[in-house]
Assembly symmetry: C2
Homo-oligomer: 385 residues x 2
Amino acid sequence: MDNETKKQGPFAGLLVVDLTHVLSGPFATNILCDLGARVIKIEEPPDGDESRYWGPFVKGESLEYSFVNRGKESIMLDLTKEDDKTIFLNMVKQADILAENFRPGTMEKLGFSYEVLSALNPRLIYASLSGFGQSGAASQFPAYDTIIQAMSGLMMQTGFPDGPPVRAGTSVVDMTTGLYLFGGIVTALYARNHSGRGAYVDIAMFDSAVSFLEQGLLTYLATGVSPGRVGNRDLYISPFDIYKTKDKYIAICCGNDHLFAKLCSALDLSQLITDSRFATNQERVIHENELKTILEKKLMNENADHWLKVIDKVGVPAGPILTVEEAMKLPEIHDRKMLVESGGVMMPGMPIKISGFPDSSTRPPAPKLNQEGTSLREEFGNRQK
Amino acid sequence: MDNETKKQGPFAGLLVVDLTHVLSGPFATNILCDLGARVIKIEEPPDGDESRYWGPFVKGESLEYSFVNRGKESIMLDLTKEDDKTIFLNMVKQADILAENFRPGTMEKLGFSYEVLSALNPRLIYASLSGFGQSGAASQFPAYDTIIQAMSGLMMQTGFPDGPPVRAGTSVVDMTTGLYLFGGIVTALYARNHSGRGAYVDIAMFDSAVSFLEQGLLTYLATGVSPGRVGNRDLYISPFDIYKTKDKYIAICCGNDHLFAKLCSALDLSQLITDSRFATNQERVIHENELKTILEKKLMNENADHWLKVIDKVGVPAGPILTVEEAMKLPEIHDRKMLVESGGVMMPGMPIKISGFPDSSTRPPAPKLNQEGTSLREEFGNRQK
């Protein structure tokens, strides 16, 4: 019996042995799976991936688990037992990619170091995701998205100067680290086409967070001083912030003097264009608070919808602050297939759109725990090899 | 004269024609460049990439420009003029990848649609990054990171219930979209090894933001209601938040009952383990505020350093809230080469670590405007072809 689904996409034909759990690792292998790879998720007895038990739930299943594991196959294996080890190692022998996000050292203790597995399968790409990387002082330190947002400086630079540090309202570190893992795996796949050999890919949540701290980190590196929290505004461009109108906040982004002049005209505030406090971007950044007060005084006279039309007409980038619910009702969600149906529930779609491959608005469902256990044991058991 | 630098890395030998500007597009081609590709950045006369003029500055150069353009070559081309078009098209004929992030329609107006360029070079991977994608209702809508954070729902779910919406304190949408563009490009490179043909890659900032909204979006999809802002805590797990100590905030993340029990013992609050309000995660989420009050009352007795040692000892994930400056002084920054030297200045390193390729702590500098203009005009001028 061949349990392999016929899959389409750039990664069709690739086999991924997926030891990742919770969010960041499964998100990486989810992209491989969405783009055509066969992904076998190995879950630990007796309960499997702990994210199966985390809300929100739809029809009794964790929506987060269903999202990042859609289209995968599930088998429960106890990797400390010989029989299950055999099945795992038979999978590894045939696999293109092994992904794992245990605490560094766990795979070695199980006898599954890169050295051991790459000797069995020199073409194997062995991809590890961890909090602080496989090497270094902090490698044993436990990590969650919130802890890395805290320790990287990201939380300290989110929020208002007079308020507490704020967590970005989504697991940006988990998701970004998953994206780096995906990128690292595909890079190694590309390199394998030339070398014929696999590689070890080592991605850390902390590294990933550091790589995208951007203005805050660059300012520290340039000046020796952490810039601290500045609310919603840009550190170096003004006006570039969110502003109160009569009913709601709107975002207005004037990247240059030209756009600022257009904004002033649209708001019937042309006198600001020649006001020495606001004549250049540099001056506007210095007089940020005065400028914001003047702009909001005007904007408070009408509703957000009115102003967005007025500002859009002159070509100044601006937009409403939407709830997730409002955002999901925008026509671009449908146009871009950014909500897809999977196993009877709606979930986020796939942002990577590549010509020549389908971008389906339905996706196969996530597996129940051990759903393909029996057939996978048969496929990768010793009698078959 | 051959202007090509001898480069090492998995992408050595690849030629990227880079029409991207500002942050998200250049961040994607920066990863290709860091990992070995030759990247020729085409800049518009007379001033080139506008990010050259955005702070912070070090030694008179924009550190943001220097970060995301390190190792690239620069040529100034006016793509509306015939002579410069010829040079550009000669580059395209030899290129593996073309990347651009103009407003959708701009490349078509210049005569450089995917159809035209792929006819010249069927192996070309043509990668476009935009606010809302190449198709659909909003494709002409201007976008900056702040606007997409606002319109996707991310800003509305960041911050505290009683405060305003908050921008995540870095350009997460720009960086994530750049990562998706990188991932899409490498996916198309992998597919080309089988098909012999290039592809069109279409990545949107809005799609990218939607794909990582995670708990907020999943909760809306599960319940029909946007969850709103919850500060630093997790929506579904408790205690999983930041807490005040005598001197500083610390993050504590108890993913399950077992860790909660350990935390209580460590804080000498064992009575909470059997308190019916806190006996299960579900109960703790409901009684979140009461639990936080009790924990903080205890934590306020000692400094952060004291508590982190105590909590670490029992194996509960926890960490300090650090400024960027404090974060950059952690030993893992050095161990993982996450600050590198380039052109005499320090900047973020490369999180993708792949065995068999160097992960250097020095990187070649970003180019001055048109630095390689003369030699590139010679290399790709008509006489040479």
